[in-house]
Symmetry: C2
Subunit: 406 residues, 2 copies
């Protein structure tokens, strides 16, 4: 498996485009399109929020039906959530406008929206945008990058990842993009992410792998514990590599690894780019009885506002980590825990058997000042582990969200 | 029932004191004592965090045994949590030092600590403090106020509440104090709160009422979703009013109302004094199928960082409220909800049947700029309701917690 430069156009047969439609933002691209001429099998996972955006309802139905698809159209600026019947109508209009341009059925076009909740999409810009997207479609690296940029809201960097692997001399590629910076606490899915692959795979196998990948990647990050109304993770497989990926083969295992790699990379990039964040916080819980418990414990630490502010202040206030493990809902022996801090090539044991070691605060502060900080919590009760990713809580998070809509 | 000025010394026979022991803070009171010569029935609730501070373990055992008690000694600055066997030994030393001064058994002295996790209490200041507390003991209003002040950490104001009611011409009083500003997401209990009453009541009845009161008051507030290791709520009843409060009597109902009033007032004062907070946020969920569901929904809204930052910015970003209701775990019909904003004497309907009304943003911003803001979510599915209290998330929260220990 080889990491490569690229995003949604890395896999054979996929094209992408971005357009400045003027939906809400002025003077920047705000619509994106991912297209495959060869129809693709599609799997997806969506927000578990009871309040679901119009595009989520649309996609869920299409993915459940299992028909092949040709495209995903995405917009930023307006989330099309809490918009009632009118919102549903405008979402279909967005799919239809793109379908007209591509000369496919509107049910072959998936949709995704991100931005302010409660506002209606404006029809005219959508239609203008659809025409622009058609013109710009290209299989180039630049087209994928432009699409990844067009779906950003408060993100500060576009997020892409791609990887290739070899099956009997034939290259198979998996590449994806995602956006997400605030209202990030994915549950069954992330914010918006589209991943494409030229592998040939059945709908059932793809859905199974996608659900698995999500639980180890997107569902293991959090910026602010707020699960959005629009979380959507779509994977399109058009089979253009000519390689059929079947359960029980090495190709299947390679594809699984590739999909997990891309989803984990995208998830980590979202956590690191959390609204206002200055640091990526990685929490590994090891020595656990079960993996599920390790996940609960690690997520509890990365979502604690008190841990997040301490990381921001480079303060090794490890009591807050033990406190967050303690209220996670999981049972454990507090007097067995070891806590280790890792950053760069250095590591430092803060807690041994539940009480402080005589570590130097200066050393801890130095480690915590790095851009990526890892905390390892060894529960010493078993052999299972899990990793979760989050970020620090800063003045800028408050600034960005104190006045997001203006 | 009449609200009165006062705290833990409002009820007959209770005395209080504060002392500057020099445990961690310099030049301010950091120990407090509540004492009743007449031994008191005691009920309490404690943190559900798996990691429990030494004083919590001590109190739980005493309260479970059900013996009468004489005193509660509290300290601020050091939480005595994650301190192992040495921490337990020092906690007993604190109880014993006070017991020696009061000439009672150490098992008749409850303890409570709040402050930094992981540090050991220093023995000498504890012993010095115990002697000072004994000297200062008084039933005065000022003594109660001094005690309420001594237990503060990042709190900006002391928190007290008291109320009296009449039973056949005899006054019965309930008064309490609490502290709590950060790491506030009580679960079965709050941070530290001691309430006293001169009612005569059985241990069983008192414990039942305390548990009920907690679920409608302390358990309905949150500052940062972090459930502490030290949450302790103790109620001492010494019977000095001579009024026996028995189930099925009007006195019992009056006592219940008094206890609920004091616990709710203290809880609201903690939410309003959340670390860095500028506003009290009250969320009422009405028209719900069950009270439990209304509680889940209202707590989900007050704990959302995105709702909290929007309230800070006086931005009526109601989509975040619907989003937080939606990921609470409770099922409901998003297209039935009405959202109303209330502040002072004004109210404004933001959402009707799940979609925005044509309210004026300027009016909404004006309401949101008040010191106390109420959001009413009418689910229109039943007759149950619940109220939760929180606060806004501000720059100062980040500032306070980015460097709490220094």
């Amino acid at each position: 498996m080889k990491q490569i430069e690229g995003g949604v156009t890395a896999a054979k047969g996929f094209e992408a485009a971005a357009a400045t439609a003027g939906i809400k933002y002025q003077g920047r691209a705000d619509m994106a399109l991912v297209y495959t001429k060869t129809p693709a099998v599609c799997a997806g996972t969506f927000t578990t929020n009871v309040v679901k955006a119009a595009p989520v309802l649309w996609d869920k139905e299409i993915v459940a039906k299992g028909d092949l698809v040709h495209a995903v159209v995405l917009n930023s600026g307006i989330a099309n959530a809490c918009t009632g019947e009118e919102g549903k109508r405008l979402n279909v209009a967005m799919a239809a406008a793109v379908a007209d341009q591509l000369q496919v059925e509107k049910e072959e076009v998936l949709t995704a929206s991100t931005g302010v909740i409660g506002m209606q999409l404006p029809l005219e810009p959508l239609q203008k945008g659809a025409a622009l997207l058609k013109e710009e479609l290209s299989g180039s690296r630049a087209a994928a990058a432009a699409a990844a940029k067009a779906i950003m809201t408060t993100d500060t960097v576009p997020k892409e990842a791609a990887v290739s692997f070899d099956v009997d001399g034939v290259m198979v590629t998996v590449g994806g993009m995602s956006k997400g910076s605030g209202m990030i606490h994915p549950n069954m899915a992330t914010m918006l992410s589209v991943t494409t692959t030229d592998a040939a795979i059945s709908k059932e196998d793809l859905q199974e792998l996608v659900s698995e990948a999500v639980s180890d990647s997107f569902n293991m990050i959090s910026v602010d514990r707020d699960t959005s109304t629009n979380d959507t993770y779509l994977v399109l497989a058009n089979g253009e590599s000519g390689v059929m990926v079947k359960k029980g083969t090495k190709a299947y295992e390679d594809f699984r690894a590739a999909l997990f790699y891309v989803s984990t990379e995208l998830a980590k990039k979202m956590a690191a780019d959390g609204e206002g964040a200055t640091k990526l916080l990685e929490v590994k819980v090891t020595g656990c009885e079960t993996e599920e418990k390790a996940k609960i414990l690690s997520k509890s630490v990365i979502t604690s506002n008190l841990v997040k502010t301490a990381v921001y202040g480079s303060d090794a206030n490890w009591g807050r980590i033990l406190c967050a493990l303690g209220y996670s809902g999981a049972e454990f022996d507090p007097e067995a825990i070891d806590l280790t801090l890792e950053a760069g090539d250095s590591s430092l044991v803060l807690v041994k058997d539940g009480v402080a070691t005589d570590y130097r605060e200066e050393t801890a502060t130095e480690l915590l000042s790095k851009e990526k900080v890892t905390v390892i919590c060894d529960m010493k009760e078993g052999n299972c582990a899990a990793t979760a990713w989050g970020c620090d809580l800063t003045y800028d998070y408050v600034k960005i969200n104190g006045d997001y809509r203006s």
